[in-house]
Amino acid sequence: MSRLPFTPDEYGEIVSKLTPPSRHLRGYLRAFWVGGVICVLGQALTLWAETLSLGETTAPMFTTSVLVFLGTTLTGIGVYDRIGKYAGAGSAIPVTGFANSVAAPAIEFQREGAITGVGARLFTLAGPVLAYGIAASVLVGIVYWLIRGWVL
């Protein structure tokens, strides 16, 4: 016996009608400027690194290390989650966001110990990024190896 006046489809429509939408334009603007600032910072670091004659391959590694250090530190002092709440993908996509996604579970799961806590949970959020990132780079490498004779 059903007392419900709606089918799931009808109810779904009413739910979407009564649920306020996310404020997309505001979200895009915030993500754009915060993400942009992080990227400008990264570029500045790279340029600076080059003046220190770190070289073309070492300079980006230097930049990444500094940004990861920053992201981790800001997570540790409880600031990055506020930036993330404001900027969304603007602070999640850059490498500082990757650092945040590793540091946050490291802090959270300390109480479960070094092995089953931090060790096991460290990559719960970053794991998919690593797995598919590495898989994609292997795939691209194979494609490159196969076609380099024609392309280059």
Partner: protein, 340 residues
Amino acid sequence: MSRAGKQTFVYDRPPAIVAHASIAGPKEGQGPLAEWFDVVLEDDLLGQKSWELAEMEMVRRCVQRALNDAHMGEDAVQAMLGGDLNNQIIASSFAARALGIPFIGLYGACSTFVQALVLGSALISGGDLDNAVCAASSHFCTAERQFRFPLELGSQRPPQASWTATACGCALLTAPGEGHSGPLRTTCGTVGRVIDLNITDANHMGAAMAPAVFDCIAAHLSDTGRGAGDYDLIATGDLGWIGRNLLLELADAAGVALPPDRLIDCGASLFYQEQDAHAGGSGCGCVASVSCGWLMKRLEQGELRRLLLVGSGAMLSPTSSQQGQSVPGIAYAVAIERED
């Protein structure tokens, strides 16, 4: 004890709510109901080593406070009924370990407190227990790590998301005629069905639970032959303000009269809009603390005479969500009335 209709217990010997206590977290203590809570925590870790132990300590303190108010020792309490949102309801069972009260662990997600009142009242009315303490709790930090993300992760919530309340509520029920018992009685309780209208957004718990809440209220009214007008107030658990609007739509379409001015939601009442709780408060502690803090006190003051308290729960787990299952809802209703 007798029954009415298919889903409702009628408590022929209506149990008395002799004492009740509520504890709210720091954020909840800045909300509109702050002055109604018995205790507002300054530190949501309560001096403990982990959030889980903090929630356990909150339950223990809350039960202790209700017992102190009733001048009753733990030894005199025959049963503690309760639960929380942690895996294997550890906050409640660990609190029961500390209190040494025989424990009946329950899980009705965020409806657990009302589930406990419905069952505790049934056991007392039926003569199986002389008294029982009903408690439920939730803690923002234990719920976040279990159901969502680590606290320090920089992520955004959608507008329909709710905010798990750090709160606990506890009510002590006794059989009628046991000493000085105050005016509050539980008179009937309705056990809801698990209802699923295929909401798959685990953030949108108000939408997932509203159909179950509607079904439970409709069952209660039809089983008891009462109308919504027989209650001064119908208080739902944690539908939030969007879920409350959905409940009104459902009632309207089904032709069940549910006057908006007599319908409040505990979750929607717990925070100010500026507190960034989005759709409102949620969690087992939400309906427990708001009813034990605010609503029962208003009943005692005589401002309300008959209250229908409807707990709402979303029966999801992280596993069911990850496997793409929809979110079923459950609800329990208990009528709390002044005896005089």
